[in-house]
Symmetry: C2
């Protein structure tokens, strides 16, 4: 399985020489026949958006929601690179488009890696013709593309969701800066279902909200985050509700793979808030807990220090009544009515020693619910992030 | 020098037995003659406020801004303890008031330590009569009080600001959860200046905003934060502007002592934002940078990775134009117009190896300025916070 499993897509990946390690660092996803197909994209909310985000956003605004290809480079984010960065991103699209024989605004571009350093353009302009020439269907080409978009990831992240009438496939890159509003993460999805640009954009927006935007590694929002969904239509018209379900399932699976691969981290935890005034308030409260350094440290230490969870909920800026609070770890209630209750300490200890810790918080106010995934804070995160060298 | 240096105050501290270590854990600050004096207090914004915060807040609302004494216990926060916690805090005030012969609502109470565990009341009720009996002026009693309020602090935090006509003294406890809106920190200030309750509250509010609320260790807001300022009036009426200056200076000094003593941390950094649309936006942007895990890791690694600073500014939710951005470390500009410029790498490396790193961010939009202090993220923080045992 790969990004090329849905009918109508080809891909490629190669080592152009951006990364000193010699690892794959250039990837292409394109339609098989060069025809522009309905395409949806969501971009980072960061106002310091990288050059490729600026250029891709402009292309999406100009191409009527139809694109032919996506070029991805890894190892350098082309962020905080000013006019030169914009010129480089524009050139990458133009050259790819020329090689494919399509208009430049039908090509989108994404980059990921270090911030603040101009792209090394020579390997990229040398690599693009070879990359385009290498494009192919089949699992090998898809695997090369999925490999070529990675940075600090420990391995490829791919997903395939199969329905009777159509398929959805995806590949993603992301570890470390994952956070509110999708920090340094890239995800690409393909489907052979026929969906028009408008509904396709709605499907992607909703899927991203329920997946990538409901996870947090360190609360940082990157300059380069992008999710792109292309629909070839080769499988013909399909029930849009089923397509939405499949895309959401694919995004959730990729998001989980990213959380499990968060830089230097192993234990993932999920904060579920129920009983909030609204779903929005539940989400805000769950994110406050998931982002908390102290809670992350407790997860690292396998310590069910629920008082810190209560403290974060109380300072989340949402409606809160300590006397109605219930907190459970993995289904074992440790706090009820805002105070500790006797509980099975062995059961909680066993749960916290596992790979996925569940923190369930009941606010007891109304019916709002929200879930956010977080990652523990341990030495590994610091080792990974203290220097860029 | 101590909290009793301003005329009209006595203090005491002793080991009641709350802490298993046998360290001092009960402290008293009181007026020399038992008379209630103008007193101002600010409390945590956390809706999971601890029992002593709830009771002290109620007493301040009832006593017309005049109090006779403050009782402080350390080792257990009496937070997330429900009705029992409120009864315990009420009893602590009532017993202290009875020993001093003053109304109960003229006594305030503060606790600090672990959350979620009921207070051990026997040592406290045994200790209060001894504590009240031991109250005295002079530096030894003040030092005992300053010692008795500590938890994970590495030592006492005290300050004295002397003006020709009056003095302001302070003592504080805080390390670790320091954050927006004053996380687990307690500070107590005394002055012999004569200031009425209303102006005294204004003076304290402003001083806290410019000191304790402009620092961040980990972005967590505690359940127990309290700052109390008592004015004995023994020095007679003084220029309120000078009193405000002195209180602000004392608070800023205590805040600096806390930042330098942040749990498991050594390098403190200061984020200065200029050129923002407003002072408020500058403060928000500076806090976003100071709270960033990635920036904190970079400080730990002595890495001037300004791209992360730019990324945080861009996602701070304030007006921002990457093309106008300037970033400097310790006065050496590394980024201008949103891109890296050649700079003296040796000078920046030397600055980042020092005990206080200055990050200066110019947004180039208007005249708004703001400063927030942060603390690096290293192994020490994790060691300190991963378990409570």
């Amino acid at each position: 399985m790969s990004i090329t499993t849905p009918k109508g897509f080809v891909a490629a990946g190669l080592a152009a020489g951006i990364k000193a390690s010699g690892a794959l660092d250039l990837a292409l996803l394109a339609t098989e026949d060069g025809i522009a197909v309905p395409t949806a994209a969501t971009f980072t909310s960061n106002l310091a958006a990288a050059a490729p985000v600026q250029i891709s956003r402009a292309h999406m605004a100009a191409n009527g929601g139809r694109a032919s290809a996506v070029l991805v480079s890894s190892g350098n984010a082309n962020a905080a690179t000013g006019d030169r960065g914009r010129a480089d991103a524009t050139l990458m699209c133009a050259q790819t488009a020329a090689e494919l024989g399509v208009p430049a605004d039908q090509v989108l571009v994404c980059s990921t890696g270090l911030i603040g350093i101009p792209l090394p353009m020579e390997p990229i302009t040398d690599g693009i013709p070879r990359l385009v020439a290498a494009r192919a269907g089949g699992p090998d080409a898809g695997a090369d593309a999925a490999q070529g978009i990675l940075t600090t990831d420990s391995g490829r992240k791919e997903v395939l969701v199969t329905y009777p009438d159509f398929t959805v496939a995806g590949m993603a890159k992301g570890a470390g800066m994952l956070a509110p509003n999708m920090a340094t993460m890239l995800a690409f999805l393909t489907t052979d279902a026929a969906v028009e640009p408008g509904p396709l954009a709605d499907i992607l927006r909703s899927a991203v909200a329920d997946s990538f935007n409901s996870m947090s590694v360190d609360g940082c929002t990157s300059t380069n985050d992008t999710v792109i969904l292309m629909a070839s239509g080769k499988a013909g018209p399909c029930d849009p509700t089923l397509v939405a379900d499949a895309v959401t399932e694919a995004c959730a699976d990729l998001a989980r793979q990213m959380a499990e691969d968060a830089e230097g981290s192993s234990t993932v935890f999920q904060v579920q808030v129920t009983g909030a005034r609204t779903d929005g308030e539940a989400h805000v409260a769950a994110r406050k807990v998931a982002d908390s350094l102290l809670v992350k440290c407790s997860i690292n230490g396998e310590d069910p220090y629920w008082g810190r969870v209560a403290s974060e909920l109380g300072s989340a800026g949402v409606d809160f009544d300590m006397d109605r609070l219930t907190i459970a770890y993995g289904g074992t209630t440790v706090c009820r009515g805002g105070i500790e209750v006797p509980y099975d300490k062995a059961a909680v200890a066993a749960h916290m020693a596992g790979p996925m810790v569940m923190i369930e918080c009941g606010l007891g106010l109304a019916a709002g619910t929200g879930v956010v995934m977080g990652v523990e804070l341990g030495y590994g995160y610091i080792d990974e992030n203290r220097t860029t060298s």
